[in-house]
Amino acid sequence: MERSEAELIAAVLGGDAASFEPLVAKYSPRVFATARRYARRESEIEDIVQEIWLKAFDKLASFRGEAPFEHWLMRLTVRTCYDFLRVHQRNRESSFSEISEPEEDWLDRFVADPGTAAEEAEAAKVLINRVLEKLSPEARMVIQLLEIEDRSVKEIADLTGWSVPLVKVRAFRARAEMRKILARMAKDKYL
């Protein structure tokens, strides 16, 4: 018979570490999907997810069971991804000279007629990823959660551990930072 999450957690806390495995198997897809939004290289993603699960095991006693385990785990996931962003701030200062031809074509089309530059185009995806990588960790976190995942300010505050006013301030700054990066990207040709 399949055991419930609460039973599995109680068993792990009681010393049966093997009961942790079904939880890892069940929630790893969700954790991997989140980690892939903040890191690009597969080896880095695996390291992040591994760290998340080891932390989850160590801190399981702090899970009070008032909210679903998934919420608790996602808080841990988002905070670990934020720590990763803060540690790996490389590439942020690089220029946009490496923009590929398809990306430049997409930008040309956007300038000529924004309607013809499709959001589904591979070049648009590459461009937005490039822009996100250049954002500061706080800005990237806020843009990802607020603008891309469409979460509320309160949800973001809960996930990140920041206060609601701080999330609002960071959201304002993040949008400005993103616009500045886009301006830098378009400076030579379009502005």
Binding site: P29, R36, Q50, L54, K125, I128, R175, Y190
Partner: protein, 104 residues
């Protein structure tokens, strides 16, 4: 050449990001890897616990040895052999044997 509208571009790229499907692939047997790491860490922490305990015991033994050495070094030697601690200890220990020898 037309100028670029940055607010529109920002909006368009945000929509592009939203439309990227979530990639939730998990490497093969990833949960086994996590469980192996947890087991390995538990074994290491068990060994660490023992090592820590043994080091504490070693430090206590060294401290006791130093104190004993200091006491014996700073205690003035007496000429009176009857007050020798080792002699008294031996006498006490063998008292019953001595009594058995002298009893007819």
């Amino acid at each position: 050449m037309k100028r670029m509208n940055l607010a529109d571009l920002q909006q368009k790229l945000t929509v592009a990001a939203r439309r990227q499907p979530a990639d939730d692939r998990v490497p093969y047997a990833f949960e086994k890897r996590i469980m192996a790491l947890i087991a390995e860490r538990s074994a290491v922490s068990g060994r660490l616990l023992w090592a820590r305990g043994l080091w504490r015991a070693a430090v206590s033994c060294v401290a006791l040895a130093v104190v004993s050495g200091a006491v014996s070094f700073f205690t003035p030697a007496t000429a009176d052999n009857t007050k020798d601690l080792s002699q008294e200890f031996e006498n006490t220990l063998l008292a019953s044997v001595d009594q058995a020898d002298t009893t007819p």
